[in-house]
Symmetry: C2
Subunit: 730 residues, 2 copies
């Protein structure tokens, strides 16, 4: 193993140490008044109760999957016998990262509220560094997982003297991602249903029917709403990006091993560790970037954003420089083309973020138009938000087209020649690593949002007065901007990562064929498995676009996206209806609640969200896990190829559409609340609240869950490659 | 030319003659009271004015396209020099069919209203036969267009003695479909924007704000709303299915010529005319089917539907028998497998219709649940309709998967073997012909809907009393059921037709290669064009799923669908806002309107819808026409393949989603109006009206326009095949 590899575990440990220091530091701040402590306690309790419940379900699912994988490992179903065990590490690390992030956020928000009583900078620093705990824990644990297993497998697998050893190691490692992916699915879907059932319920009865403000302690669903921010936006987002970061690095490693196979084990090793090193560099550079975020008292929204951007830009800029140096030092041929792929990926992340901002911020025309249409009533505001959302998917998709073609072109040695296919695919995978290389700090800006949001809630519920509220509002508004860009970033990286997985899928198919060559009694589609046949099988007809099995696969892939989105939307609808009924019931049964003389039953609302989430997340999860198995079984490798293309691309489009429509409705409402088109309480405002309510499950449940769907279907296909190859019935 | 071929022009003439008789017959009925005549006059005038305006735009577009095609024909851009001229016939025939259908409908509705004063059966018969005018004109003109050109080309093109002559003829004929496709685009998009701008405007101000009933003559947008039904649902639907019918037959002919190339000119000719003969048989059998539709006085909804179904089932059943006889008589090898493809197509059409009914009729759970969620407010009704719509896309997609794989399997000789690819693709195309073979009568049931709807409007506006209204309501309710199944049918056939076009595309590419072989100085991608290269080019790498150009193509295809849907949604939103403002203005400027003492300015509202439609339909049209050219130019044949796969499959999903969500919202509202969840005037009812308003552009503008988009992009790719092959820049 080359010496430079040790940078990877080192950066992992460094990130975890800094995260621990930030976590400790946070506890030095005071939690504020007794009432604040009490509220924070409720939220923390609710969030922990929910996560405990979720992890119980996850553990059961993990055990079932693990047993199934073990059985398959003794047949021909999965790549090898390491999978069922290693499967766990990704899942446990991901769950731990989500837990730490959520835990930190629930401890931090009241402290941020209290810090805002003294100064804006104090509040910002505390909120941001608390968010950074999750950012650093996620990247740290991913790199720890990767470097740990890489060392183990490299030590224990027998030397082959040629490129097969690294091919095997990377092919095996990629399959480990299933654990992280499954855990992310439950975190995103369950968390998303929880948070939006609470939010929609709280808004519809509290704001619309009873006319009490947001975060009002008289609202029985107020605590559940705050809990939701933590389990959905913090733990869910963390698990999502944990998976993307992990998978993009592993897929790049595998494609690197395949592309540089003929260069011999030394160069191949360098190609394999290159993505790990770039991720490690980004992790190390995120740390000084995080320290650079600070604000002066009375800083404008623009200055606050500038401060965040300074940290992110610093990190990004030095990643570009260091990654060029690393690639040069590794001596990779065409290192400039490979570097270009990383640069394009990083720039694309920024571009997608900007486009999200354009389509969802009330500073620009699209959201202003939605606000304007509110004046014509409920129908028009929904129609225009919907139309704008659909329309807005075009920009990130064009960016993706540019990324795919240009990174391929550059990494393949500035050509589209088929002979260089593997280099091109390595480039596409590396562009995902490039996009995610700043994750340590960008995830901090994401996790910061809900903390600031909850701090505002804490100020409101504890009645700390307008001056403090103004500061937390400034922090919250900043959080909304970063949330929008963060969502675009999560979607874009998920799509690129999933494409990298699709490319890797064919390598896994190849590895599988090679494995069965040693067992010539095994028949593939009724014929003995020989490599010549593999080439014919995979490259000529199987992957022909008019192969009906592939068309059927694409059709099923698109269908899966619509089915999944429909199920999650309806899940929120059902859970929210229960919440509406409960809040109405409490208001009716105890009139003292609305008068402020008696306390609502917060715990009951938390319980409804928890139960709704548990019940409703299973059907979408099963779709994601089982469709690839079924399609592989029926339509084989061609079917799976089509399936993944269909799911990834249409899932990307639907995810962007949902995130942007939801964000735009939300901000159109805020724009009206600023006094436009009649302001708060007007008919326009009421229409815009309906838009926001509809947008809630769009942007926080179905949309982000699709990120997971596209990655999980790809991983599930990779894991069950043997079923598609050996057992397919047609 | 075999003698049996003459059945095709014969059936065309027969259909046109019967249509003419029905048209004449209609005028023997009395138009009713003076007020009814006046209202009908307004609607007719508005519809004619709109169509004149639309055809002006279409003519300009046609001239531009024709000039461009002429220029390209002298380079290498298009298949040949016939295209620019023949392009017109499809467009003119389609426009004429739409005009006749619309004209008949506007003359018929007041007469149907008047006939209902006497008996239900009289009303049903008149309404249905008036609808049948369009059904028969559409199928008649399609078969006339096809048989005419087939005779001309077969006579004038030189004999080659081998299969190349029929390959050329069918390849040329397919390109003629561009005219029908372009005209259909403007009819669907323009008509869809017109009708929904009027409908949404009329509902929001009239029903919601002022509390006056549907079709009330005091509503200034009432006439525009009725005009919209005629230009959108009649002329638009007619143009849409004209195109599908035409294209499915032509694509099957081309694929038949390719599949049976080696069997010699005789058998090849039989394979080419087989789809034409099946379409002709269906057309002839539709005529007795239409005559079978009748009803007894006081017939229940079920009996009325039974009467329609009797006619359709009669037609379908005998098509199955006669098509088996025809295929046997033609002596096609594997005629049973080919027949199976037709049967599967026909059954799939019924299956998709049933699934539409399940998801949109208030007799079933999905729509009932949406009605229930109305009780929780505006947000939940939108969320649940949206979720259900997304979810509902799964069923037709699964049906499509079954159709694609089974028809391929059967027609390829009960195998998936690659060697039989061409037979399999012929089967897929024939399944579209099978699905559409009953078009003469099914389109009659579609066109019947708006006639019955407008008859109800006429009764309401002329104040004919509850007894007559009850009869027209019965007819209208029947129309709503047929409209839902009709929409499913239109979408399903569009998707299958477009897939057939995709398969044909590769034959067009091949023909193009063969053409340039005779000009060896022409370079393809920098190399001399030789057939060996074609095989390598198209079959090996170009169509590999991991070709980045193909992935970029799929991405662009999905993007085009979202962009197009977003643009058309926003177009309705903008046009409806103008309508809302105008109706509000009239009510304010002239309080006598609402009191019923003075007349509103109907013409002004018609004008607003017309202008809105004209202005807003250009951008979506340009997308559909230009994207294939641009993608072909940048990404070549691989890019186009991906583009079409992406557009067809995601467009299919989005179209089903939109049609079903819109239909379900509409019927959930009607269910509440029947007295459930508080009934008319309740809060649930208000929420359900918002759902219906949002659903209007879903089901009548964006959704159906997507049918055209997927076909037009495919045709546009076929036409500009030369650009993708010769000029692509990468």
């Amino acid at each position: 193993m080359p010496l430079i590899f040790w940078l990877v575990p080192f950066s992992a440990v460094a990130a975890l140490v800094v995260a621990f220091l930030f976590y400790r530091q946070m506890f030095r701040y005071d939690e504020g008044t007794d009432l604040m402590k009490e509220i924070a306690g409720h939220v923390r309790e609710g969030a922990s109760a929910y996560l405990r419940q979720q992890y119980k379900v996850v553990i059961i699912v993990f055990i079932v999957i693990s047993l199934v994988l073990s059985l398959l490992a003794y047949g021909l179903g999965v790549q090898n016998q390491w999978v069922p065990f290693a499967f766990f590490t990704g899942g446990i690390f991901s769950a731990f990262a989500g837990f730490v992030g959520m835990r930190t956020a629930t401890f931090a928000s009241s402290r941020v509220a209290n810090a805002c009583r003294e100064s804006l900078n104090g509040g910002l620093r505390l909120a941001f560094r608390s968010g950074a705990v999750m950012g650093l824990v996620v990247v740290g644990l991913v790199l720890l997982d990767i470097s740990g297993w890489f060392i183990v497998l490299n030590t224990f697998l027998p030397e082959t003297g040629d490129g097969f050893k690294l091919m095997s190691i990377t092919a095996i490692m990629l399959t480990f991602a299933l654990g992280a992916s499954t855990q992310a699915l439950f975190a995103r879907v369950g968390g998303g249903i929880f948070t939006k059932a609470a939010d929609v319920g709280a808004d519809l009865v509290g704001k619309v029917e009873s006319g009490i403000p947001e975060d009002d302690p008289r609202n029985p669903a107020a605590i559940a709403d705050n809990v939701g921010d933590n389990v959905g936006d913090v733990a869910g987002m963390g698990a999502d990006l944990f998976e993307s970061f992990l998978v993009s690095i592993l897929a790049s490693a595998l494609l690197g091993a395949a592309a540089f196979f003929d260069y011999g084990p030394h160069m191949q090793m360098n190609a394999v560790i290159a993505p790990m090193l770039i991720a490690a560099t980004g992790t190390l550079l995120s740390i000084p970037g995080i320290f650079m975020v600070r604000a002066k008292e009375g800083a404008s929204q623009k200055q606050l954003l500038g401060s965040l951007n300074l940290g992110v830009n610093f990190t990004a800029f030095f990643i570009l420089i260091f990654s060029l140096i690393i690639l040069y030092a590794l001596g990779l041929p065409n290192y400039l083309g490979i570097w270009a792929a990383i640069v394009i990926g990083l720039l694309a992340g920024i571009g997608i973020g900007k486009s999200t901002e354009y389509f969802t911020s009330s500073s620009y025309r699209p959201t202003k138009n939605i606000a304007k249409s509110s004046a014509s009533g409920y129908g028009p505001v929904i129609i225009s938000g919907f139309g704008t959302g659909l329309f807005s998917a075009a920009v990130p998709m064009i960016i993706a087209v540019v990324v795919i073609t240009f990174t391929y072109f550059c990494a393949a040695g500035f050509t589209f020649d088929i002979a260089n296919l593997n280099y091109g695919l390595y480039g596409i995978a590396l562009s995902a690593v490039g996009m995610l290389s700043t994750l340590g700090i960008t995830l901090a800006t994401d996790a910061y949002g809900p903390i600031a949001d909850n701090a505002g809630g804490s100020v409101e519920m504890a009645g700390l007065g307008p001056n403090v509220r103004k500061r937390t509002d400034a922090l919250d508004a900043l959080g909304n901007t970063t949330a929008a860009t963060g969502k675009g970033f999560a979607i874009g990286s998920a799509a690129l990562t999933a494409l990298a997985l699709l490319a890797s899928y064919f390598e896994e198919v190849k590895m599988f064929f090679i494995k069965v060559i040693e067992k010539p009694d095994i028949l593939i589609n009724g014929m003995p498995a020989i490599e010549a046949e593999f080439i014919d099988y995979v490259h000529h007809f199987e992957l022909h676009i008019m192969n009906p099995r592939m068309i059927a696969g694409v059709m099923t892939g698109v269908m899966a996206v619509f089915l999944f989105a429909g199920l999650t939307m309806n899940a929120v609808g059902r859970a929210a209806q229960k919440m509406v009924e409960e809040v109405r019931r409490q208001f009716k049964a105890n009139p003292g609640i609305l008068e402020g003389t008696s306390k609502p039953d917060y715990a009951r609302c938390v319980e409804i969200s928890t139960k709704g989430a548990q019940k409703e997340m299973l059907a979408p999860a099963l779709i994601a896990l089982l469709i690839p198995v079924v399609v592989g079984f029926i339509f084989g490798v061609a079917g799976i190829s089509g399936l993944l293309v269909g799911t990834i691309i249409s899932g990307f489009a639907v995810a962007v559409f949902m995130a942007n429509a939801g964000g735009a409705w939300d901000n159109a409402k805020k724009y009206i609340e600023e006094g436009h088109y009649g302001g708060t309480g007007s008919d326009s405002h009421k229409a815009s609240i309906v838009g926001d309510t509809v947008g809630d499950p769009f942007k926080d449940t179905s949309g982000p869950s699709l990120n997971i769907l596209i990655k999980l279907m790809a991983i599930s296909s990779v894991i069950t490659v043997g079923i598609a190859v050996s057992y397919n019935i047609f």
